[in-house]
């Protein structure tokens, strides 16, 4: 009898370990699957309809690198942000962070004027932008989330209005800038999907690699933060400290993606939620790579569609905003039905 009990105990332990193993394996398989699709799309993007390799490859290659960077930055920052704010509707862009980046950039152009900026190196300018962005994003975040228990929808609405405020103010300042200065700087400063800001690739990659290395060790703590603030503190996570550090990382990531392709409001929301649904796990070590791969697939695939099917007659951000907006409405209405 005793022997039997002992045996069944070990059997249970074995099956638990096995189950764990199996789950891990399936998570890895899912990641590999996503990576294969992403790789295939990138290969297709690089090689489709090439007539002059020497001309096409470097240009397309730069575009792909930009999309990889943006995809990773948006996915990572959105997942991280959703974890520390403990919900699945808010993303940094929905509460207006990327419009804030554009505003900072415009104000800098306005204050310094075109000539000073033209002489200043792009890298330096970018670093100044990012520094200010980290400062203001942390301030805005702290101000918004200062009071606990603030209604989530309230935050979203405030964020959206902030986005409009920053957006209007940016256009306003752009009109105030001397038209000559503005045309000089327009291409350099205000990117979109169709004109990716490729000059910044080097420093953007450096920034992303740095903050990623810095923040990799947070991933495990973030798993715990998912349990809620009080639980996490109970389990020994220095919550406030962690949130502050994450905000810095998020601000840098948002700066990079906005500097490269401009604001894309709903993209982070889409890829983060798709990743949760597909991976079915709480582990950030798997969710973040999955979200990044999904966003790379969406970007490269979307860009292929835009370039080959629509032959440039539409822009990727419009499609993303359309689909993302509908998805957001769906999430919102589903939540209200549940209450």
């Amino acid at each position: 009898m005793q022997l039997l009990r002992k045996e069944s105990g070990t059997v249970a332990a074995v099956t638990a370990a096995e189950h764990e193993q199996r789950q891990l394996r399936s998570l890895w398989l899912k990641l590999v699957f996503l990576a294969l699709i992403g790789g295939a799309l990138i290969a297709l993007f690089l090689t489709i309809n090439v007539t002059d390799w020497g001309f096409a490859l470097p240009r397309r290659g730069r575009k792909v690198v930009a999309m990889l960077l943006v995809g990773f930055a948006v996915a990572y920052s959105s997942v991280m942000f959703q974890t520390i704010t403990n919900n699945r509707i808010l993303t940094p862009s929905i509460i207006g962070f990327d419009s804030m980046y554009m505003l900072i950039q415009t104000v800098i152009v306005y204050l310094f004027g075109g000539i000073t900026l033209a002489m200043m190196s792009r890298e330096l300018l970018f670093v100044i932008n990012v520094g200010l962005m980290v400062l203001f994003a942390s301030l805005l975040y702290r101000w918004l989330f200062r009071r606990e228990g603030r209604n989530l929808y309230f935050l979203v609405l405030i964020g959206i209005i902030f986005g409009t405020l920053f957006g209007s103010f940016t256009s306003f300042m752009q009109r105030m800038i001397d038209p000559n200065d503005f045309t000089v700087l327009q291409d350099r400063m205000f990117a979109s999907f169709n004109s990716v800001n490729e000059d910044l690739l080097l420093i953007a990659s450096a920034a992303i690699v740095l903050v990623t290395l810095y923040s990799l060790r947070f991933l495990r703590s973030l798993d715990v933060v998912l349990l809620g603030r009080d639980q996490a503190i109970n389990l020994g996570v220095a919550h406030a400290n962690l949130v502050n550090r994450c905000m810095v990382v998020i601000a840098v990531l948002i700066s990079v993606s906005t500097a490269l392709v401009g604001p894309i409001t709903f993209f982070g929301l889409l890829v983060a939620n798709l990743a949760y649904q597909y991976m079915h796990t709480y582990r950030h070590a798997f969710v973040v790579p999955a979200a990044s791969l999904i966003s790379v697939i969406a970007l490269v695939g979307g860009q292929l569609l835009v370039e080959r099917v629509f032959t440039f007659s539409t822009s990727l951000s419009v499609i993303i905003n359309f689909i993302g907006g509908i998805y957001f409405l769906y999430l919102l209405l589903r939540e209200t039905r549940r209450d």
Binding site: L157, I158, F172, M176, T336
Partner: protein
């Protein structure tokens, strides 16, 4: 006191209107008007006067429309720009331009009106579907709905190379107002008067279908009339001026905070304050970067979103307390 402040507002409006007539690149002075040259007079009557009329009409009617909308939806944060009405009207204008390239202004108005009406009705339906009608959720859904329609409109515009004209009517701007190109706005005048006549009935309708019917009100008729006024006024403004963000939202709210909810009393106030607000923003836009001009939608966008933020934050204070 209320009467006094109303008169003060009116006097201020008249004063600023006169000021507005004499701002511009072409130097025209009030005392020089009588010995003005031929082309000075032309500038005055072809550009300045129509512009002033357009500002006053658009400001007053959009604010009143916002007031009615807030009454009917029973939510303080609903307005043509937070419920998809403006965006639907723009889509309508685009579709009209695409399908009937030679469409007259009246045709375009009709199509924009139909789209604005459908858009607003869909929004009201979505509201009925959401069981949990939080004060905040309603405008949130409306803004998102507007975004989706806006993205679709941009998609169409990009496809048919109309993005530039689209931006033209998406961004409200009074600089294009000239004699012969704004007269459509006059439609908004009888609509505003009709809202005043029906003001009491809108107040009743705002109390809910059952209650209103109990009091002997033809509920469906009043609601449909309200929606028609909203859609038609918005379309006319979008077609002539372009969309002006937050206008129908902040003006009625400020008036309601000061004067309460009886819209028969607040409506004249709302109309006056709306006209005044747009006039002031337009004067700012015309003088801040003189001799260039900043479109009114940007000035209102900055001022309006700041005021809107203030309004919800103020609400938030006692909602969480």
């Amino acid at each position: 006191m209320k009467r006094g402040s109303f008169v003060a507002l009116l006097i201020l409006l008249v004063l600023l209107s006169v000021v507005s007539l004499f701002i511009g690149v072409r130097n025209i002075t009030p005392w020089g008007l009588f010995q003005a040259s031929e082309d000075q007079l032309q500038v005055f009557f072809i550009s300045r006067v129509p512009r002033l009329i357009a500002i006053l009409t658009a400001g007053a009617s959009m604010s009143v429309v916002g007031l009615i909308m807030q009454q009917l939806a029973r939510n303080k944060f609903v307005s043509p720009s937070t419920a998809g009405t403006m965006e639907s009207a723009s889509l309508g204008v685009l579709v009209a331009t695409l399908m009937f390239s030679s469409a007259s202004v009246l045709h375009k108005t009709a199509i924009a009106f139909v789209f604005a009406l459908i858009g607003t009705v869909i929004f009201m339906r979505i509201l009925e579907y959401a069981k949990y009608k939080d004060v905040i959720i309603v405008p949130l859904v409306g803004i998102m709905f507007g975004n989706v329609i806006g993205a679709f409109t941009t998609f169409l515009a990009l496809r048919y190379d109309l993005l530039q004209s689209l931006n033209g009517w998406m961004n409200g701007d009074f600089s294009g107002i000239l004699r012969g190109r704004y007269e459509l706005l006059y439609i908004a005048v009888p609509l505003t008067i009709a809202s005043y006549i029906f003001a009491d009935r809108f107040t009743l309708a705002g109390m809910g279908a059952d209650f209103a019917t109990n009091l002997g009100l033809n509920y469906r008729f009043v609601v449909n009339l309200g929606l028609a006024i909203i859609a038609l006024s918005s379309s006319v403004v979008v077609l002539t001026v372009g969309s002006i963000p937050y206008l129908g939202l902040i003006v009625p709210n400020v008036v309601t905070i000061m004067l309460g909810d009886n819209i028969r009393k607040t409506l004249p106030f709302t109309a006056t304050l709306g006209a005044l607000f747009v006039l002031v923003c337009d004067i700012i836009g015309r003088t801040i970067r003189y001799p260039y001009e900043i479109p009114i939608s940007l000035v209102v966008g900055v001022v309006g979103s700041a005021v809107f933020l203030f309004l919800i934050l103020r609400r938030g204070v006692y909602a969480t307390a």
